[in-house]
Symmetry: C2
Subunit: 338 residues, 2 copies
Amino acid sequence: MKIGKLGEFGWIARVEQAVRHGEGVTTGIGDDAAVLDAGADLELVATCDCQVEGVHFEPGWIEPRQLGHRLAAINLSDVAAMGARPRWALASLVAPPDTEADRLEQVFAGLSEELGSAGAALVGGNTARNAGALTIDLFLLGQVEQGRALLRSNVRPRDAICATGDLGASRAGLIALQQPDLACDAEARDAVVARHLEPRARLAEGRALLGAGVAACIDVSDGLVADAGHLAERSGVTIRIDAGLVPFSDETAEVARAAGRDPLDLALAGGEDYELLFAVDGERVDEVVEAVRKASGTPVHRIGVAEAGDPGVIVERDGERVDVEGRGFDHFSEKNTD
Amino acid sequence: MKIGKLGEFGWIARVEQAVRHGEGVTTGIGDDAAVLDAGADLELVATCDCQVEGVHFEPGWIEPRQLGHRLAAINLSDVAAMGARPRWALASLVAPPDTEADRLEQVFAGLSEELGSAGAALVGGNTARNAGALTIDLFLLGQVEQGRALLRSNVRPRDAICATGDLGASRAGLIALQQPDLACDAEARDAVVARHLEPRARLAEGRALLGAGVAACIDVSDGLVADAGHLAERSGVTIRIDAGLVPFSDETAEVARAAGRDPLDLALAGGEDYELLFAVDGERVDEVVEAVRKASGTPVHRIGVAEAGDPGVIVERDGERVDVEGRGFDHFSEKNTD
């Protein structure tokens, strides 16, 4: 079977089955990051994510420095989703020999800047050539208090499901980049494009969640429904999302309108928002909202609830069930083109 | 300037200058692996290395399972060169959607097997698609006793320079793969092809070196002269290699002969041997040779000496200086094709 047919998550499931977990592995394959016990007071979290030219970015759309920031941010977001502090990174560069060194230097300047502002340092890496598209992999290590990492598997029935910030802006930004002649408000356009090109990891928010006793979290990279699905699968619960409560910005709505799209679709399936999606005991929501607001100024919205039942996600809008088949982003799937 | 013109090491030097080192970084960019203090009794070592189809391997030459082994081995070798124990790995897969999942599964089986036999576990990773060549990045973490990692910067004037095993076999294997009709002994051919496709990391040897008090080491991935050059640069010494003492196997000599090549050239510049090149006080060589033999059965050869002087490598053969210009493997260089 072709990997495009199997899909990213089908593939990960296969690898997971084939792999034996070793000593010191608190949490292995299947979360935002691995959790490793290296014998210190703090556990390690380890993650990697890459940017491939023509897949994750188009060189004409993004400045090299922005690309470096973005590469850092998408990895920092995985560390944020574990409630951890980022510490050290390695960068693996695979580039054609005719790549301009100045351009790469800008990428690395942005990378180093974004890592530095998050308290992490670039400590090594690798370089190799290829004949194809510029590919940069980042490997990021963080640290978190023993046994406290925010896991996808910690959602309990009756937990409230909440999200930081707002959703769909990154996809709205992508649409605006793909349709330069889109007739929409210029400020709205710029705002969502910035959300797509310059995502920010919710690090302070992740630490606040951990501090407030939250135990289950994921970052929204594949799309709200897809990522809620990861929580549901790993926790063995049904997650019910009230579409009427899913937050999206006025700017997202404006760009969606101009493109003839429902902004809710972008919010449910857009992906690359890098907001945190988490679960907490329903009676403690106000307390957690306040802790996140105090730490970061970021709003939190309650958008659903977990229930005992088959693992999966149900989205309802005005009491009607919304068809969510095929929403979200699967890296090997042929259905990606939106 | 194009990165092909700047070269891999020119590029790394630029990145190194641009990057600030953070807290807990014992050794950052510029060694086989980074050394990180995570607050435990043992320090972390962290490295990454990749395999790109058409650059590091040709799919027709290598079995998928061998490719997985090879990816593990080249990373394990960096951990070996630090004197560390491998612990945890993350794999980043970038593949075209039409890649056969069964083939990738074989790659990951080989990867997991080789990691497992070295005491390490695959704990996470990432998957993304591209339109080009299969690219797999591995990130590997190991652990080493505080302050004991074997560094490139620890060579002292008057140290003896030694190498484990023998050199040039991997390049001889590559030549044999490139010239299937080469008229040479079939057993010799098979032996060097296996050395190219199935390198083994010198982990027990690295641990023995650390145990015997060795402080300076690198693995031979770029080529003996190039890697001796890295030791010389980082330690600020001249390294003088006696070409008559550089070990190569009878099989390497046989394949070189058939291809009209000097086996010494392959041993000096071939690369991808994954032997350990290290420095030790000249009076302690016998003791270290014995420690490595006892731990692994692997022979060690004294091949040169470090001297006070400008950082660089001098190779002599029967008292004559050998021209070593341009030897070794630079991943961005246009001079790679041998």
